[in-house]
């Protein structure tokens, strides 16, 4: 049994402009200790699908309208509010993008670290404080004793993200969901935080779902990659499959549109033309079709399901076998 099984998840937002199908039939699993990346651009539903796991979708306007989420065999969608609160922070930890807005500015670091310990693990003041010190040391914060008494504004962005990671690890969860954990950070700090997360998840055997728009970030750290577009997973496979042998035109286009430091400089970039679709107006066809260089008649009428293209590698494209390799041969 997988640690996390998401099946046919649908999360919709009911707005005055219509129903936004932010997540529209997403299925994936996370095994114990595994790192799974969810990649996609703004509005593709990657964050909403992750927040849905913890039932953090605000109603109104959002609601999980279909599917199931099973975590260690338990159906999370069937839990009461009190029960899901016990899951959040204890069984599943979270790290958000903006460490300034996700830490409480009027509470000390110490208070914020000890709160989940007291709430979930019934630790007393002394035990919680000791564990908090241990956690700060674990995430590489210098002078932890002093940090406990400080407020978030005393810390730099990278330090705050380390504190967020310490909080996520506080109750020894089985799974951590990290939503764009390094997007707000500078590149040298990003490298530090990613190395830290990789090291800790391996050492402690925690599974990690990392949500990002940066294809480079996940190449090094993910065991498996799910690529999302317009509310669905359009390709899933090992990192190697996705980067070396993409089988969906959107994945291919994404890889080709970024300049790479290890490749020759090109005279022109190869962008994905057009704009992402309006999620209130999806028809029955493939939503990537208007921007796709491989689109055929069938794409307008039939939405392609995820189809096997290799061991553990699936793509939702009718022309999955006709694509070019991601790197052009140097001319």
């Amino acid at each position: 049994m997988a640690l996390l099984e998401v099946e046919e998840l649908q999360t919709h937002f009911f707005t005055s402009a219509g129903i936004v199908r932010a997540v529209d039939g997403v299925s994936y699993t996370v095994e114990e200790g595994e790192t799974v990346a969810v990649v996609g651009e703004s509005g593709c539903g990657k964050s909403v699908s992750a927040l849905s796991i913890l039932r953090l979708i605000p109603w109104p306007p959002g609601r999980i309208v279909g599917g199931s989420i099973r975590f260690m065999g338990r159906d999370l969608l069937g839990l009461s509010d009190a029960e899901i609160r016990q899951v959040r922070g204890r069984d599943i930890g979270m790290v958000f993008q903006e460490p300034m807005t996700s830490l409480n500015p009027v509470l000390t670091i110490g208070r914020q670290l000890t709160e989940p310990l007291e709430a979930h693990l019934d630790k007393n003041d002394q035990q919680a404080r000791e564990r908090a010190l241990e956690l700060l040391r674990l995430v590489g914060i210098s002078d932890p004793q002093r940090r406990l008494g400080q407020y978030p504004h005393h810390l730099s962005g990278g330090m705050r993200q380390r504190v967020m990671i310490a909080m996520a690890l506080a109750c020894e969860p089985k799974l951590i969901i990290a939503d764009e954990p390094t997007t707000a950070l500078d590149v040298t700090i990003q490298a530090q935080i990613l190395e830290l997360m990789k090291d800790l998840t391996q050492r402690l055997g925690v599974a990690l779902v990392i949500i990002t728009h940066n294809l480079g970030v996940v190449a090094r750290y993910a065991d498996r990659v799910n690529v999302m577009y317009a509310g669905r997973i359009i390709e899933t496979g090992s990192a190697r499959d996705i980067y070396h042998d993409p089988r969906h035109p959107y994945t291919l286009a994404l890889l080709r549109s970024v300049p790479r430091l290890d490749q020759p400089r090109r005279a022109r970039l190869d962008p994905v033309e057009g704009q992402p679709p309006d999620l209130t107006r999806l028809d029955g066809g493939c939503p990537f079709r208007p921007r796709c260089r491989y689109a055929i008649q069938r794409c307008a009428t039939d939405y392609p399901p995820l189809m096997e293209t290799g061991p553990g590698h699936r793509s939702a494209c009718w022309r999955k076998d006709d694509l070019e390799p991601p790197l052009r041969k140097a001319s």
Partner: protein, 354 residues
């Protein structure tokens, strides 16, 4: 084996920006300093310290080139851009634009220069007035500078600018909220072009865009450079994008210029330990390259610009620092033709620490 970037092979150049234009300088920045006072007290404010945002920076931008200015948050790259535009008055130093020192001019005398220099900002959501229609936004600079006083002609020019930037001229009647991020950034570019400038500062102009849209806007900026003979100062933190679009690159750290070189020279042969650390931290979208690569993660964080380290500001984090580094600020030296570096441990023809 190529080095610099922690074991990844840097690709050979094949871009139009491989040749650095040899023209005369359009913008010269000389010994620019910009300090922001830190004050204490409410009624009687006393200055208790200075934030040294830019501390003695000199470089020049040649006509027709795209100069990249890179560095992490707080390194002073945006402040440098704002000083060139005279949106901030420098604490000391000169900004020569076409030979004229802008820092000596009053607001009125600056007006003709403002028409020649424009800026495209990072956030296309906050840099467009939400209550103005796109057409009004683009026409505003023309109105301010008295270009096209005829309203019908002005509308015509707005339509032309929109189509130059790849937008439907019908967008003139829309409001910013009706457009996507990429479309808004195109509006910001059209607005900058409205007064026929020769020099545009792109301050993180593509950083907020999704990758598929980012490539569209980068291609647009390159096309416009050719078509209108523009000179760009391209301020950014994304090194892969900078390498793609720039002729030469200046690297800043904590208010100082640490390295300055033609793009291919800088990426093939980074000399300053900070530049090398920056390049090493950029992830490459290829799991095999990444697995094989040794990351030199630089330790620690950027110190406060209020109380920067003595001597070379990078020395507390530097892997090759020696005893003399905290004693003296290293001057920029030309170690190879056109390649300047501010590090005493770099010798011509070899890489430091090897």
């Amino acid at each position: 084996m190529n080095p610099g970037v922690g074991e990844i092979e840097i690709g050979t150049p094949a871009a139009s920006t491989a040749e650095v234009p040899a023209g005369e300088p359009l913008v010269e920045v000389r010994n620019l300093k910009k300090y922001f006072p830190v004050t204490e007290g409410i009624l009687l404010q006393r200055t208790v310290a200075d934030v040294k945002a830019v501390d003695d920076v000199s470089f020049e931008i040649r006509r027709g080139e795209t100069l990249g200015l890179v560095g992490e948050s707080g390194c002073g790259k945006t402040t440098t851009g704002r000083c060139i535009l005279q949106l901030e008055r420098p604490t000391s130093g000169q900004i020569l634009y076409d030979g004229v020192d802008l820092s000596g001019l009053d607001q009125k005398a600056l007006v003709p220069f403002r028409r020649r220099m424009q800026v495209v900002f990072q956030d296309p959501y906050s840099s467009l007035n939400p209550r103005m229609k796109i057409g009004q936004i683009i026409a505003e600079p023309m109105y301010v500078h008295g270009i096209e006083p005829n309203a019908a002609k002005r509308r015509e020019r707005v339509a032309h600018l929109l189509s130059v930037c790849g937008l439907n001229p019908g967008f003139a009647d829309r409001y910013p909220h009706e457009m996507s991020g990429g479309q808004r950034q195109r509006v910001g570019i059209a607005r900058a072009l409205a007064v026929d400038p020769e020099f545009i500062i792109c301050d993180e102009a593509v950083s907020a865009l999704d990758v598929s849209i980012q490539a569209q806007v980068i291609n647009l900026l390159e096309d416009l450079r050719e078509e209108f003979n523009l000179t760009y100062l391209f301020i950014a933190h994304d090194l892969s994008v900078v390498r793609h679009i720039c002729h030469r690159v200046a690297v800043m750290y904590l208010g100082h210029l640490v390295e300055f070189a033609p793009t291919d020279e800088l990426f093939d042969r980074p000399l300053h330990p900070y530049t090398r650390a920056l390049l090493s931290a950029v992830p490459v979208p290829d799991p095999e390259v990444e697995q094989a690569r040794k990351h030199q993660v630089v330790r620690g964080e950027v110190p406060s610009p209020i109380n920067p380290p003595s001597g070379c500001v990078f020395h507390p984090r530097c892997p090759i620092a020696v005893d003399t580094c905290p004693l003296q600020v290293p001057a920029l030296r030309e170690v190879r033709p056109g390649h300047w570096v501010a590090c005493t441990e770099v010798r011509e023809g070899e890489r430091p620490g090897q």
